[in-house]
Symmetry: C5
Subunit: 265 residues, 5 copies
């Protein structure tokens, strides 16, 4: 059901954010080379990945690239198309009986809708039907939220790894005190690179992607709730007018009008 | 229903807050020029917007100006006028039957009230009526809270972008150690401007507006809850005295007296 | 019902807290003059008030002095006197019928008790009665908690305004580097005063008063819940022994004994 | 019911924690005298107590020593002895009728059990019985949690008082800049003592004791819930096998076996 | 039921994390010796353990090694094998009657399944059955979460002990100001080691293991919920198709196919 497509906001956001930081730095007559620190990079990345691996499991950590790609997909939430389809099913079921949906069921793409209608066609009791669908949704949501939580946890570890890197760098510097102040200045600068990377990764990678995944879960839940409301209406044989009132609440103003156009057609 | 008007508190607050900071600085014999930093501004704004774009979507970020304007509108919450209107509907429905409301329904401005009364006139079962109205309200509230959350998220990113800017500035300074102390002092000052902007934007723009939007959602929910309570009372044909007791709980002391005046008139 | 009186703990606490800070400072051979900073004061107070005004509204901010005074009133929570009164009403209603309470109702000071008993005397259905009283209480509680939240929000803004003030002060100092170190030291000290004020106001004014108001809301809720339990018992005509068991749970050990004395009298 | 005794873990923990800090300091060739700072102590203690007095009340603050002693008592939670006693009451009630418990009731030490059984013997309706016991438990729990919250609040104020003390100390130092560096070093060290005390008191006194009290409340709740489950089983006249299954869930593995031994005896 | 095995991710994560930190440090031409600080180690470990002992009890603290080992075990959550077994029980009970399960019950490894089926065989009422199983699960979950909370609490104490250690180190240094700058640099470096250890232990030991234990509790809850759903289906004598729909929701895509293979066999 979900109109899955590409969501370029991750790329756009990275360009704006990282680009802005670099632009500000260059405008301040800084050399980009001064911001490169391989030791700091190793400390931040390995430290964060290590802490994540202990927190979850190697499998979860290896799944991070998949989740990053997932964060770039569009999850549109409850769409007028879905609402329209539920309305049509409700009308058909009311007109021709619930069994008339039997042939359509297996072709449905959305798993919740397919399972829901199959249970309706099989004559499952209303209360049990709701219980099964809501239990499934809540388990699905929990799994998705835990995936988002991996990124949030990483966003918490990353700045502290930055502090660790900086403190280690300062320990190095302080052990060499008395040397040429210019060199010391350079070493302290290098130590601060770790803080920069730690905070930067957290705030332009881990936390924003965690937010994005969480937002996708909310959209997914809303979409599934619309389906559950629709399936129950179909089972109860409610009047098309009432079903319309029910599903409309899931749509935004503009989308409601889109749905209403179908009505007059 | 809502007496929508302008709410000047955002402007007033900005004047007091920013004005106070500047006044304190000038009183300390500081030059305003010393507080201007274009690179810092770019880092803070682009960094925050970038992180927001990854977290939500370009569309959400482009909607920020609309939300800022929205935060300057008055959202008065449950008003005595609304309570009075619900009382009159309840009396009319009790006297002349629910169908007597049919003509009034379509002229109503508030969508919840219109939908609720339409469902009542259509003879919807009480339980389903409540379910539809509360589901609609909870979806509306969720959407509004997510809009406020954008500002709260920005209020979290902004100071960390300030730290990033300052650390980048310090890296610059430290690479030039050994130079004229006066120039170094100036460079460190510039680096701190980023912290200033990061914390300033967060605490005088993002977070206060997030608070304001959240407060508006609470007022909106209370207003909608009053409508839902009223619609149910109308459907149940409850006595005017009881309806009055119910709606009065939503009003503040002063407003209750306003409502009571209508009683004696 | 509430034995309202003065609660001196705000004054006592301020004396202990501020006094202790000053005593420690003087013991360290500091001059009180060194702690006075008008620019810092302006920055902290105007910054915090400005951020609050954007967050809420000018009306809410102007209500802060009223809330400070409110925090100095005693809110005793459920009292044995109230419990005793509910017991007597329950006995009277059981003995002489619910209508025997009609004359007493309008003289009652507590609004919840008055409204509850009036609804009981009017013969309101038990379920609706509970719904009305609990809805009223939850709206009242929400309003009171939002008042306490103003102080908590201020307690969050105040230290960040302190940081802003200090950073602005440091920017000033750094622009003058190379000057007499003694003067520089003095300027840095002045910059730190802002941090001092920011944290001081938060921790000895905003946050403690927010805590106090929150505690008062809890007491108020408990008192109102006792009334609601009592009103329902009166409506149900429950035995005095059972009503006693119910209301006793709201009292503390010592207060229970106070209530039991009335029993034997 | 609770096997109340002494819990030495507070003392042991203080010895380990404070001892470890001092041992590490001495090992670093530090002089204990360097860690003593009377002004800092006054600032931290008076500041924290002052903020607490405003937040709560003088009475609550004066009750802190009592709560510290309370934190050193053992609160064992649901015990096999209690489970066994409930089983015996259930068997007796089933065999000889509920009234057979009448004589035992008044001798019971635990207030919840006494009140519950008295209500059962008095023939209170099952639903009301549960309501009364659960309302009492929730009020008791709320009061206890607020006591623990005093310590948590103190644990939040203490480090900020430490920062205030340190900033005040630095203000002193900076006013004397240009003096003998050795003396300045000493003064800065003294300023840091306040941070040390602030964090130390929070992390080795306030917060751990808050945790302990909270843990005790959880144990208390579990014990009371076991009693409530038991009392209901007694009232319902459930079979001893079923009551055993119910109460066993409250015990830990080892304790279940202890209970099972009583079975075979 | 749980396929218990070893989970190497704790070891792998520690190697990646600690290894990465050390690699970055060495790459920066640091000597590992510079990172060793016995006094700091004593302060962090004893301080954290001390604070934990006051917070919980000596017994809980001594149980930490057992919990670390527990965090290295695999807790697979709801497995297709378990789902399959529940399906078979459901079919058998429907075909041969519930009593046909009597012999199998006592051989079951999982305690919840054993207790649930025993209660079913004993003819326990459905509502009471659910109540007992869910109460047991919620108590079990609470105990497990409190174990995870010990590690989270430690993760909060550890960095503050690091700050205490560093401040104590700085106090030492400042008392010796005026000495050879090289030696002073070395002493400050030593002071920072405490911060390093405090943050390091928190982020590569306490917090990740707390996360891991929490994740295990979630898996355990899901597994137990699957059992509870299954036991109720068995008691209700639901059709195998419906039971399959119910248990499938607990499995992941890949696992569902595994379960479906059993279907066709």
């Amino acid at each position: 059901m979900a109109r899955k497509g590409s969501d370029t906001s991750t790329i756009v956001g990275l360009v704006i954010g990282v680009g802005g930081l670099i632009a500000g730095f260059l405008l301040d007559r800084g050399s980009l080379l001064a911001l490169i620190g391989i030791p700091a990079l190793i400390i931040i990345v390995a430290g964060t990945i290590g802490a994540l691996t202990i927190s979850y499991s190697l499998k979860d950590v290896l799944g991070i690239p998949r989740l990053v790609r997932q964060s770039m997909r569009r999850v549109p939430g409850p769409s007028p198309q879905l609402a329209q389809q539920l309305l049509e099913f409700a009308e058909k079921a009311r007109r021709d009986g619930i069994l008339s949906l039997e042939d359509t069921v297996d072709e449905l793409e959305d798993e919740t809708l397919r399972k829901g209608l199959r249970l309706v066609v099989d004559g499952t009791e209303s209360e049990i039907l709701m219980e099964v669908l809501e239990s499934d949704l809540s388990i699905l949501e929990q799994r998705k939220l835990e995936e988002a939580a991996i990124f949030e946890t990483a966003g918490g570890f990353s700045p502290t790894m930055g502090i660790i890197g900086t403190v280690m760098g300062l320990v190095l510097v302080l052990g060499r005190l008395g040397a040429d102040p210019k060199e010391i200045g350079h070493s302290i600068a290098t130590a601060f690179i770790a803080t920069l990377y730690g905070i930067g990764f957290a705030n332009l990678f881990w936390l924003p992607i965690s937010n994005k995944l969480r937002g996708q879960v909310k959209m997914l839940r809303l979409e599934k709730e619309l389906i559950i409301v629709g399936v129950r209406s179909i089972q109860q044989g409610e009047s098309p007018a009432l079903v319309r009132e029910k599903v409309e609440g899931f749509l935004q103003e503009r989308e409601k009008r889109e749905l209403d156009q179908h009505r007059t057609e």
